[in-house]
């Protein structure tokens, strides 16, 4: 199973390490022509404004929309979640706008308010160590979106069919359970085709 990590800016190596531990072949993706050979793609954490600008500049907006339209799974973490959402609180323009949800950026505050905690995630066997860094959260989900976990009542993990998003950093710990979960989503797609 070949999974790409969008490598324009952010925590690319960490996602690749977690994907490999979960049994995938991980590829750093810098050009749109690399998408063809992939079974899924991760949009990593980083600065969403920077990643969004570079995605536009290099044609990734349409390329990843096409990729998702083929039913191939996309996983966005932190900044990646913002990139996936179809509404960003206080901003006119969304990025990929693939997932039916409204997100708020820097929703927990500045860096000094960043934290880690244990999280129960639907579909995972054990609680997940979740690292929130200037993290966004999901304020509202629309039709077709499943809430997989909440923290203090706020939505922090969600799935819409073959699209997965979380507001924290599963790639910063040794626990690769959520990456394995994403990998199984990609396997399901390959299995049904």
């Amino acid at each position: 199973m070949k999974i790409g990590v969008l490598a324009l800016q952010g925590a690319v190596a960490e996602h690749m390490r977690s994907l490999e531990r979960a049994g995938a072949e991980a590829v750093a993706v810098k050009r749109t022509d690399q998408l063809d050979e992939l079974h899924g793609i991760v949009i990593p954490g980083g600065e969403s404004t920077t990643i969004g600008k570079l995605m536009r500049k290099y044609g990734f907006m349409n390329a990843i929309r096409d990729f998702a339209a083929q039913g191939k799974p996309v996983f966005g973490t932190c900044a990646g979640l913002i990139v996936l959402a179809d509404k960003i609180d206080g901003q006119e323009e969304a990025h990929l706008a693939l997932m039916n949800m409204t997100v708020a950026r820097n929703a927990f505050g500045r860096q000094r308010e960043s934290f880690e905690t244990e999280l129960d995630v639907k579909g995972l066997d054990a609680p997940l160590r979740a690292v929130f860094i200037r993290a966004p959260l999901i304020k509202e989900v629309g039709d077709g979106v499943d809430v997989l976990s909440t923290h203090n009542g706020e939505i922090v993990t969600a799935r819409q069919g073959h699209l997965l998003a979380c507001s924290y950093h599963p790639e910063l710990t040794d626990d690769y359970a959520l990456h394995a979960y994403f990998l199984s989503m990609a396997k399901d797609v390959v299995g049904t085709n």
Partner: protein
């Protein structure tokens, strides 16, 4: 469930999110907006960029808190600020303002010529400069969550940043190949804790992100530092002391992302105008050499 703030993972993780990006020095709100629009991953709020500090002379201190607050209001990307080396109170003041990262920086005039700040007790993470592996590991031991080369700030001359990056990566390779008895001695020679050195020996890399800084003036400079193994780039005077800051800022961001795509770097380097005026390093003597301000 219970939450923990200011943990090592949270502090180092923040720097991981900056990787592959460009952090830009800004002196006012307008420049901060230009930096964000160009795709900077963070801005460093300061009163003067290093080349101006050099020209002005005198004592360079922490920026006016008003300026930090104004910048935090207008941009949504992280805001960093500099404290003088060893100036615990400046750092506490910056933390209280809510800055996202503190640079304990040799660009400002040191407040303590022996001791650095104990950075472990802060919730906000710190970045520090280093010119060799010894300095890098001492800063990590003191609690730095991110490193950068010192280079020679405000010169627009990349040679010192290159020297520091090459030295650190070379020293890491050397440590990787050492036997245990050699490691004991190397810890003594470098003046660093054995445990940290052992970690480098085993992993072959620094436990924190290491950016390039001090002399980056062109897109090619930024790409060169990435080629040499930097995780990202700080640009101080290079943007707002150039002819066309918007163009330079955008071009440096793109060259950093695609540091091994030379056609692209050629493309973004066209018609940029004049970069900042540079200084030949050998013209700097004594206290003009900012990199020698701490060990």
């Amino acid at each position: 469930m219970a939450i923990e703030t200011g943990t090592t993972t949270v502090k180092r993780g923040m720097a991981e999110m900056q990787k592959g990006g460009v952090i830009m020095d800004v002196m006012n709100v307008e420049q901060a907006k230009i930096a964000e629009a160009a795709g900077a991953v963070a801005v460093m709020a300061l009163e003067r960029v290093p080349s101006e500090i050099r020209a002005a002379g005198g004592v360079a201190r922490m920026v006016d808190p008003t300026m930090v607050e104004e910048v935090m209001k207008v941009v949504s990307i992280p805001v960093m600020a500099k404290t003088r080396i060893g100036h615990y109170v400046e750092a506490k003041v910056l933390e209280s303002l809510g800055v996202d990262y503190i640079d304990e920086s040799e660009v400002l005039t040191p407040a303590d010529d022996v001791f650095h700040i104990d950075k472990h007790e802060f919730t906000v993470p710190f970045v520090c400069g280093a010119k060799d592996l010894g300095e890098a590991l001492r800063r990590i031991q003191e609690g730095a969550s991110m490193l950068r080369t010192k280079g020679e700030p405000g010169t627009g001359n990349i040679v010192e940043a290159v020297r520091h990056m090459r030295l650190i990566t070379g020293q890491i390779r050397k440590v990787q190949g050492m036997s245990k008895d050699e490691l004991f001695n190397e810890a003594k020679v470098l003046g660093v804790p054995y445990d940290l050195l052992l970690e480098i020996h085993q992993s072959g890399k620094l436990p924190v992100v290491n950016f390039a800084a001090g002399g980056v003036a062109t897109p090619s400079d930024a790409a060169l530092m990435m080629h040499l193994g930097a995780d990202g780039v700080f640009v101080g005077s290079g943007i707002f002391k150039s002819d066309s800051p918007e163009k330079f800022a955008k071009a440096i961001v793109e060259a950093t992302t695609h540091f091994d795509d030379y056609k692209l770097i050629a493309e973004v380097s066209k018609n940029l105008g004049t970069p900042m005026k540079g200084i030949e390093i050998s013209k700097l003597v004594g206290s003009d050499r900012m990199q020698d301000r701490s060990l």
